[in-house]
Assembly symmetry: D2
Homo-oligomer: 337 residues x 4
Amino acid sequence: MILILKNDCEKAKYEKLTEWIKNLGLEIHCSRGENSTVLGLVGDTSKVDIDLVRSIDIVQSVKRISEPYKKANRKFHPLDTVVDVGGVKIGGGNFVLIAGPCSVESEEQIYSVAESVKKAGATVLRGGAFKPRTSPYSFQGLREKGLKMLLDAAKAVELPVVTEIMAINQLDLFADVDMIQVGARNMQNFELLKELGKTDKPILLKRGMSATIEELLMSAEYIMSEGNENVVLCERGIRTFEHYTRNTLDLSAVPVLQELTHLPIIADPSHASGIARLVEPMSLAAIGAGVDGLIIEVHNAPEKALCDAAQCIRPDEFSALVKKVDALLPVVGKKRK
Amino acid sequence: MILILKNDCEKAKYEKLTEWIKNLGLEIHCSRGENSTVLGLVGDTSKVDIDLVRSIDIVQSVKRISEPYKKANRKFHPLDTVVDVGGVKIGGGNFVLIAGPCSVESEEQIYSVAESVKKAGATVLRGGAFKPRTSPYSFQGLREKGLKMLLDAAKAVELPVVTEIMAINQLDLFADVDMIQVGARNMQNFELLKELGKTDKPILLKRGMSATIEELLMSAEYIMSEGNENVVLCERGIRTFEHYTRNTLDLSAVPVLQELTHLPIIADPSHASGIARLVEPMSLAAIGAGVDGLIIEVHNAPEKALCDAAQCIRPDEFSALVKKVDALLPVVGKKRK
Amino acid sequence: MILILKNDCEKAKYEKLTEWIKNLGLEIHCSRGENSTVLGLVGDTSKVDIDLVRSIDIVQSVKRISEPYKKANRKFHPLDTVVDVGGVKIGGGNFVLIAGPCSVESEEQIYSVAESVKKAGATVLRGGAFKPRTSPYSFQGLREKGLKMLLDAAKAVELPVVTEIMAINQLDLFADVDMIQVGARNMQNFELLKELGKTDKPILLKRGMSATIEELLMSAEYIMSEGNENVVLCERGIRTFEHYTRNTLDLSAVPVLQELTHLPIIADPSHASGIARLVEPMSLAAIGAGVDGLIIEVHNAPEKALCDAAQCIRPDEFSALVKKVDALLPVVGKKRK
Amino acid sequence: MILILKNDCEKAKYEKLTEWIKNLGLEIHCSRGENSTVLGLVGDTSKVDIDLVRSIDIVQSVKRISEPYKKANRKFHPLDTVVDVGGVKIGGGNFVLIAGPCSVESEEQIYSVAESVKKAGATVLRGGAFKPRTSPYSFQGLREKGLKMLLDAAKAVELPVVTEIMAINQLDLFADVDMIQVGARNMQNFELLKELGKTDKPILLKRGMSATIEELLMSAEYIMSEGNENVVLCERGIRTFEHYTRNTLDLSAVPVLQELTHLPIIADPSHASGIARLVEPMSLAAIGAGVDGLIIEVHNAPEKALCDAAQCIRPDEFSALVKKVDALLPVVGKKRK
C-alpha cells in the first residue's frame, strides 16, 4: 500500500501516523520529493482499512499494490478451480450450460421444461422458487412448494439443480439443492455470505448491478474465508445510463476476472438485456469473451394464453442456440460434458 | 398502463393478449393508427408484471401511467407523514439532526461522542454496532456488545437512537432501538423489509447505490404493505462514473421524492462523498434542496493516535455546522425541535 | 407519440395544447380514463420537440411510438446497407478488419506497420494524424505531415485508409482519405456532422462515451439528412462506474443497432478497454455479438526502448488474432474479402 | 508519478523503462518490496502520457501525485480568480445571476424576457442563437439573426450577454458578445477550445455529460494554455442510471472544484433536471454547495398558445426565486452586485 502525503504535512501528525502504521505490524519505506512524501507500507496490508487511511488529514491519496482478496486471488492459486455440481464440472476448460424457467409455476411446467432443456443439451437445471421482486404486489414465487417441484423434476430428468436463496433462515430447505444461487441484490448481504461459507455447497454468486469487479471478488472472499471454496462467479449486467437494454452485460469483466481469480466465471445473457432476441447473440459474445458457461432462461407453456404470445426462448430456440454454442467452443478451447 | 403493439401483429396473438388482460380484471381502450395499435389498460394495474408484458412478442413497448406504489404515494395521502422517533418528529416541517460515530468502538468513545453531539444540538444519536464491510478482513463492528453500549450512552444523554440491522435474526436485539436503519446494500433485501414491516418501529431506509427513485419507493412499499408506515427515506449518494467523490449525492432526488411521496426524506452527506471537508457544503446544499433532516458522522477520540491525525468531523466542527444549519432553516420554512 | 395528461388538467390549457398540436398537422386520438387522459398523436411526429412537450404544465409524460430517425431507420430501408471504402465492402455479410497504429509517428513507423497489417490480413489501414488528447500538453499528432505519411504508406501497400477529422476547417486536407472518422468526443459536434453530410466520403461514426443508442442514430441521421448515406457506426465503449477497464464495451448495442438500423456496425476493442491483453477476447466477443468488422490498434517499433517493453498488440499478435477471427466468421455467417 | 511494477519484471525491460524515463528529464526513486517494485518519478511529469505508461508490459499500475493541470491549479494560484463580464464580477465572493430564454425566438420575445429578468435582478442575459439539438429535424436556432436580436436586446436593457458558440468559423460573429459559452457537447472539442484560448473573451465552460472533474479542468487548461485565463466553469448535470431527471446535478463537484482550482464555478439547474419545478430547490441547493452564480432559463411569451400552457420558469417565478437567493447568500458569505 502506498500513501501519498500532503506537502505541508505537520511533523507531529506525521509521527502519529507512522507510529500507528508500525503498530499494525507493517514496515514503512519513505521517500521524500519536493512537493510530496510517499510512504510505502510493506507487510500484510489486507487488514488496513483503506477508507480510514484515505480520510486522514495529512494523506493526499492512497493506492493499494496488493489486492485485498487472498483466497480468490490467482496469484496465490495459479491453477483454475474446477467446481463440481452434482457431477458436472465447471471451469478449467469445462463449459456448463444451465437452463430452465425464470420461476417454477406448476409441476406440469417444470417437468416439461426440465425434459426439454435436458434433451437440448443443458447439463444443469435452473428455476426460481423464492423470487426477489421489485414490487411487493408481484408474484413472489411458489417458495417451499416450488422448491420441492423443482427438485422432483430435476431428479426425474437426472440433472443437478441450481436455485436462489433469499435469506439465511431458508438454508435448511436447500439441503438437496446441488448449487445455491446468490442473486445480484444479495451480493453484499454479508451475513448471508458468511453462512453460505460454512456449508460445502457450490455457490453461484451473481455480480450486483452496481458492483465493481473488486467488490464481486470481495464477496466471493466472504464465502471462501469461512471455508467454502466452491464459488462460481456470474456476470449478469451492470446498471448504466443506457436503458434500451435493462442492464449492460459487461463482457470485458470476463477476461479481467480470469486474470485476477482462479474461480470459474459464467454469464447470464437473459437477465442482462431483458430482451429474448438478444439471448443468442449475447451468448455467443460471452463465449468469445471466454466464459466457462451460460445460464439461460427457457420457458415452455403452450397451454397458457400469454406464454404463447410471449417472445421468450422456447425449447426449440434453445436447441438451435446449443448447436451454435457447440460450433464455437472448439475455437476458444473449451469442451462441454 | 399503455401497450404499444407492433404494426405487423398477428390477429390470433392479439386476441390471446387481450383475453389475458381482461382476465386480470382490466378494461381495454384500443386505438389503431397507421403504423401501430395502442392499448390503454384501465383498472388496478399495480399487479401487472411490466417486465412480463414487455417481453410479449407483439408488444413494442409499455408505459405505466399510474405509479406501482400505493401506500407511499402522495396521490392517495396528500399530507406529509410525520414520523415520531422517541419523541422527536421528522417531516411536515420538522427538521431532524442525527449525529454520532460511524462505529461504536468503546464505552468511553460512544459516551463522549453522545455527550458532544447532544450539546451541539443533535436530536437523535447514531452509531454502528453491526457493520456491513466490503472486506471480510475489516472490523465487523462490536455487534451485540456495541449495541448495548450505544443504548446505554443514548439513555445517559437522553437521545433516541438509530442503528443498522443486517439480518432478520438480529431483530430481537433491536427491541430498545428507537429507529432501525436499513443500509444501502440491503435496500432490496426483500425478506428483511417484510419482517420490518411487521414491527411498529420507525425505519430509516437508505437508497441503494444503484437504486432508482422508483425502486426506493417500492422498497418503502414493501415495509408499508406489511403494516408499518413509519418510514423515513435517506438519499446517500449513487454510483456514477465520477470517482473523485466516493458516490454522487443525488440532491435532485429530494424535491422529486417530495412530489411523489408523503414520507420524510433526509440526506447523509458523510457517506455520500467519503470526504469530511465536503460534509458542511453538502449539508447546506441538502437543506437548500429541501430535506427533512441530516444524518452526520461525528468522531471524537483525541486519545487515539490515528484519530488525532484524521480529518473527520469533530464535535467542534459539528457545532459550527449546526449554527449554519440553523441560519438556513427559516429560509426554507423548516424548524428544529 | 403518446401524451399522458395530468388528471386535474384545466380545460383552457387542454384546448390550447390540442390546438397547437393540430397546427403541427397532426391528428389527435383522445381516450379518457378515470385518473388520466391519453392523447395519441398521429402523423409525422419527427419534428415534434419531445423535451418541449414534456415540459408542458398539464402533461404528465410523453412516449414516442415511432423512432425520431428516418434515413437510418431499418423500417424504411429493410436491407442492410453495404458501404464501399476504396473497394472494400462493409456490411451485408461483409466483414472488415481495420488495423494500424494509434498515431502516425514517423514515415518509417507507418510504412512498417502498414506492411505488417496488410500481410496479416487487414483490409483497411488506420492511423491518427490529428489526435484528440485530454491534455493540451500531450502529443497532438503530426497533423498535416502525419496525414501525408499515412496516405503515402497506404498507397504503397495498396490499402484504403481511415483517419480522424477534428474540425470543419481540416476537411480540404481529407480529399484523398477513403473514410473519415468522427471520434467519440465529436459525435455530437453537429456543425461538423452537417458538413460531412455534404461530402460523399464514407464516414466512420464512433459512439460517444455517454451517448445512448438513439443519440448515436440521431448523429448518423445528421450526416444522412444532408445527403451522405455512407455511414458506418462504431461501438467503442461507454462510461460506467466500473474503472478497471477504461470504458465498458457495450456489445448488447450491436444486435440492438442491427434491429433498429440498416447501417453497418463495427467495434473498437482497443480503445474500449485500454488494456492490450483484452483485445483478443473482446474481438472474438464482438464477432459473437454480430459486428460487421473490427478496428484494432497495432504497433511495431522494435527500435524504440519503450515500445519494446510495452504490451501493445504487435504484428505477430495481430496475425494470431486474425486466424481466430477467420475461424469464427463462418459460425456467425460472415465472410472476409 | 508513481509506477508500480510487476513482481516478475525482466531486468532488460526494467532497464529500458528507466532509461526512457531518465530521457524525459525525470529522476527516479526506486523502492523494492517483496512482491513489487515501486518507482517514484520526480520532476515535471505533466508531459508524461499516463495511458502509454499504463500500457507498458512490466507496469502493474500508475498513480499521478501531481495534477496534470497547471494554470487552472489552485496550488500555483491560491487566490480566487475574479472574471469580469462586461463590468459584472464573478468569483471571489461575487455571485452572478444569469437569466434568459433557452432560444431567441423573436425580437419581441427576447426584448420582453430581457426586460423582465433585468427587473427581477439578473445581472447577465443569456439566450441561444446557435442551438445544439439531438435531432437534425428540430429547430436549430435563429443563428446570425438570433445573435443580432440578442445583442440588441441586451444593449437596450444594459446587461452583458452570454451565448453559445458551436464551431470555430462562427467566432467572428461573436465580437460583441461579452462571454462565450462552450456547451457540454463541445467540452472536448479541443480545436475550438484552442481558438477560444487565443481570444480575450470570458469563456463559460460547461461540464460534459460524462466528463470527470479532472477532464473539465483539463479542458479549461486547453483554453488557458493559449493565453486566455478568463474561464468560468459550469456544473450542469452528469449522465447516470437515474432517468427521472434528465441528468443528475453533481453538486459535490462544486466544493471539490473550489479546492482544486481558483476559477469561479456556477451551476445550471434548468438543464440538469429538465423539470422546471426543480429549478428553485436546486438553485438553493447549489448556493448551499457554494457556487459563484446560477444560470437559469426564463421564458415569457403569453401570446403563444403553447408557452401559456408550458411550465417553464416565468418572470414572476424567477423574481420569487431571486428573493430566496438573496436571503441565502449572506449565510454562505457571498454578495450580489
